[in-house]
């Protein structure tokens, strides 16, 4: 293994959470998420030469990962899709960790129903990107990013409420 490969793998290892977040946002089953994760790593490695250190590695990584996810289509598998129920009976207000898990479960279930661009907007927003940065990443104006993000958040809010969770 050469030094570039080692350097790349070390960077991926320290930023792997980005890949996982993108895969969970775009794919709903673990199998499809794993396929997307492999695809993202492959595309990152292929594009690694284009990383010019002008931005941070994580910013560049987000861009490539999102661009991959936007045009990634799951394998056509014959299988039953089960709409998983989110367990609520074991959760109490004191159990903060369980509450957070429940909130995330609702969030990930709802976000599957958004359009691909809307997912990217929400994802970058959750990563604390400003409207300007979101626009720069996606290639749209700051104003457009603001409007689209606001619509996506409204949509997400409605979807979570429809799942029976207070928002």
């Amino acid at each position: 293994m050469n030094s570039t490969e080692n350097e790349f793998l070390a960077l991926i290892e320290s930023n792997k959470g980005i890949i996982r977040k993108v895969s969970r946002t775009y794919m709903d089953t673990r199998d499809d998420q794993a396929d997307l994760e492999q695809e993202i790593i492959y595309q990152l490695w292929k594009s690694y030469d284009s990383f010019q250190h002008q931005s941070s590695f994580s910013t560049w990584m987000y861009r490539v990962a999102l661009n991959t996810a936007l045009v990634f289509y799951k394998k056509e598998k014959k299988k039953l899709t089960v709409d998983r129920e989110i367990p609520t009976d074991i959760i109490s207000e004191e159990n903060t960790s369980a509450v957070k898990d429940l909130q995330l479960s609702h969030f990930y279930k709802a976000i599957q129903k958004l359009e691909r661009i809307e997912k990217a907007l929400v994802l970058l927003h959750l990563e604390n990107y400003s409207h300007k940065e979101i626009g720069e990443n996606l290639g749209i104006s700051e104003g457009n990013a603001r409007i689209k993000l606001s619509r996506a958040k409204e949509k997400l809010k409605t979807l979570i409420k429809q799942q029976g969770y207070e928002f």
Partner: protein, 203 residues
């Protein structure tokens, strides 16, 4: 719950670490991006077309060709080879160039979309460009058939000539139709997928 809660849960989720990073990168393969599927299809077609060109080049070995027809046959064959090399080169450039994912999402999608469409137009014109060469080569082979007076009888019979012209037109129409169907089902769906995402950028 509000978006701050989600943000908090999102950033502290242990599940984010649950990902397997491969130890070796050369084992990684891309399979599910439209552009990779286009590439894969183009690569397979390249080899099929090379095989067809080789077979056509050996046609005079399998079928009798009158000595005076050999030169025109190979002149046409050389032209079809030059055309093929030109188009193969064009498609190879596309094959190598597309897929830079470091651009902004919108630019990346536009580039993919227009490059893919352009390559398909190149592919179509390549296919249609070869048709007349192969048709004339077929005529040369037919004109060499060793049956006494067959060719002359054919030329003297207006009905047969009309039928031949009609058959030629049909073959051309069939080639065009098959190419369009092949492109639609082989490549069109991937372009549609890219276009669908691009449309989401619209106001």
């Amino acid at each position: 719950m509000n978006f701050d809660d989600i943000k908090d849960a999102w950033n502290n989720d242990q599940e984010n670490e649950n990902i397997k990073i491969p130890a070796k990168l050369d084992q990684l393969k891309s399979a599910q991006l439209p552009v990779e599927r286009l590439r894969k299809g183009m690569k397979s077609e390249f080899w099929v077309q090379c095989l067809v060109l080789v077979i056509v080049g050996f046609t005079p070995k399998f079928f009798y060709l009158q000595p005076q027809m050999i030169l025109p046959f190979y002149a046409l064959y050389s032209c079809s080879l030059v055309v093929s090399i030109y188009y193969f080169f064009k498609l190879y450039v596309f094959y190598k160039r597309i897929g830079s994912l470091s651009l902004t999402s919108k630019d990346n999608l536009y580039e993919l979309y227009y490059e893919a469409r352009l390559s398909i137009e190149v592919y179509k014109s390549f296919t249609y460009m070869l048709v007349p060469f192969f048709m004339v080569m077929a005529v040369l082979l037919f004109a060499s058939v060793k049956v006494d007076g067959l060719y002359q009888r054919f030329l003297d019979n207006e009905t047969l000539m009309l039928m031949a012209a009609f058959s030629f037109a049909n073959v051309i129409a069939l080639i065009i139709l098959m190419t369009e169907i092949w492109i639609k089902y082989g490549y069109g769906k991937y372009i549609k997928q890219i276009k669908a995402v691009l449309d989401e950028f619209k106001e």
